[in-house]
């Protein structure tokens, strides 16, 4: 129980906007998520899909047991999970795309695999950049996207943890999705025709 104060404080600090505390929190929560995810995945039923809420709740309960975390609501915890997912996916995506090679691989060569395709990697990297820009223009939208896309929460779930009506969340989500889609596509277009001026029609 010796860490209890620590974590509670860290979480509070983080939700107050202290990013440094996140660096300490992340590995702790990540380790717990990893453990739970692993036990789910190695379960007999390989087709079992792990729901966000199940994973997060279990991690929450476990951490609570170990550290007696007094977290006022689970909102922060969901947000933290979504951020961890974002980081992990980005790590893999970057690993993959930093390798310069010809051709693009849409598929992975081995069966029953869980890895990122090249396309997904590129999307994730572009999304991460666009999402960072969005967070500066409209932080609420970027956190909805994080919870929805990386955290796997439904619009209703986001509504209930954030205290907004689902319709409100849906309205924000619609614009965020359109904006990000446009940003990312525009970027790809520029990539394809870098020398736009020289293309004569």
């Amino acid at each position: 129980m010796k860490n209890s104060l620590n974590i509670t404080e860290l979480l509070r600090a983080w939700s107050d906007g202290d990013d440094a505390s996140l660096e300490v929190l992340l590995p702790l929560v990540e380790q717990e998520l990893r453990r739970i995810a692993h036990s789910y995945m190695s379960n007999e039923n390989l087709n079992h899909t792990l729901q966000t809420t199940a994973l997060v709740n279990e991690a929450f309960i476990e951490l609570n047991k170990q550290h007696s975390v007094n977290w006022q609501n689970r909102k922060h915890f969901y947000a933290l999970t979504a951020q961890i997912m974002r980081r992990i996916l980005l790590k893999y995506a970057r690993d993959r795309s930093c390798i310069k090679r010809g051709g693009n691989f849409q598929h992975i060569s081995l069966e029953d695999v869980c890895v990122l395709t090249q396309q997904k990697s590129e999307e994730l990297i572009a999304l991460d950049e666009a999402l960072t820009r969005l967070s500066k223009i409209d932080p609420m939208k970027s956190s909805i996207v994080e919870l929805r896309y990386f955290g796997g929460l439904t619009i209703d779930e986001i509504g209930s943890i954030s205290g907004y009506a689902s319709v409100t969340v849906a309205v924000h989500w619609r614009l965020a999705k359109a904006w990000l889609g446009r940003e990312i596509q525009g970027k790809n277009k520029r990539k394809v025709f870098p020398e736009n001026n020289y293309i004569s029609v």
């Binding site: 990893r34 995810a37 789910y40 995945m41 966000t52 997912m85 390798i99 796997g152 999705k177 990000l180």
Partner: protein, 353 residues
Amino acid sequence: MREGLWENIETLFNQAVNLPPEQRFAFLASACRGDEELIREVSSLIDESENGENFLSEPVFELGTKLLAFDPIGLLKEPDYASYRLLGVLGRGGTGVVFLAEEKNSERLAAIKILPLSLAEDDERIMRFQREAQAASSIKHPNFAQLYEFGKAKDRFFIAMEYVAGTTLRRLLKTDKCDVSKALQITAQIAEGLHAAHRTEIIHRDIKPENIILTDEGIVKILDFGLAKMFDSADTKKEVSFDDAFETSSGLIIGTVNYMSPEQVRGQLLDGRTDLWSLGVIFYEMIVGERPFTGETASDMQASILLSEPDYTPHFNDKPEIKKIITKLLAKKVVDRYQNAADLMKDLTAIRH
């Protein structure tokens, strides 16, 4: 972004998107009062929104969870491994775990198969592995995945091979029905790969759709040359690949016998012709959509391989030339079979022209 623009965009977007499409332009033209940037912003966002689904529609949480979960032998925590850097797990099977890796000096991608710890205790098998790997690594051919090395690091033996991006023939067979020309094309490319290997007296022994990769460019690559069947004991009678072996609830390991040749089932000495048989089974499966030899248990299947003739009607009624080739590939006696891949390639070329 200039002051206040985003708020304007948001308000107008939310209003315009709820209007009937034909009224939107007029609405924006009047609401934006000639502010071209604003019109451009809002209408491009509406276009994107109206396009419906983009990639954000499908959350990646599940993928993230899988990535979180996936470090089955704990090597990714310190991803430096031999002369490679492990990037992630590609798959896991009875033979160990396969990682995607990058060669540290060259940035060349590789698939690294980490063999089970139990193997390290078996000197004889390690020797065989080394011999086979050395032989296999000397062959370079576009139709099979190049073997880079067999080595040991962090107390585990590993095989490093060319990383092939694509989809396995198994997956293709699950999702698509193979049309005849594609089946011919795939068979011909496998035959070419086999030809190159057999010339140097390397046999595969485990040709099956799981070991065949189709790249996006339409190239067929054979995986695990010379090594596929090395995982079991020296006793060839029990030679069963663990590659797609699965553990039943009782803990029993079952491997596939579907693609085994009669001489393999009998535990006899093998040569390249065993691979041609397996290719025959695959060719048949691509055309018919089912396997030529079936059985409820492994023993039934083995009996079928030894004794029964595949059903050629009605799928081959209009394809007598293909039937002739498959019949020759699936000849029970090796002497009645194609004697080498080159002869098979000749017959395939004749059909394709």
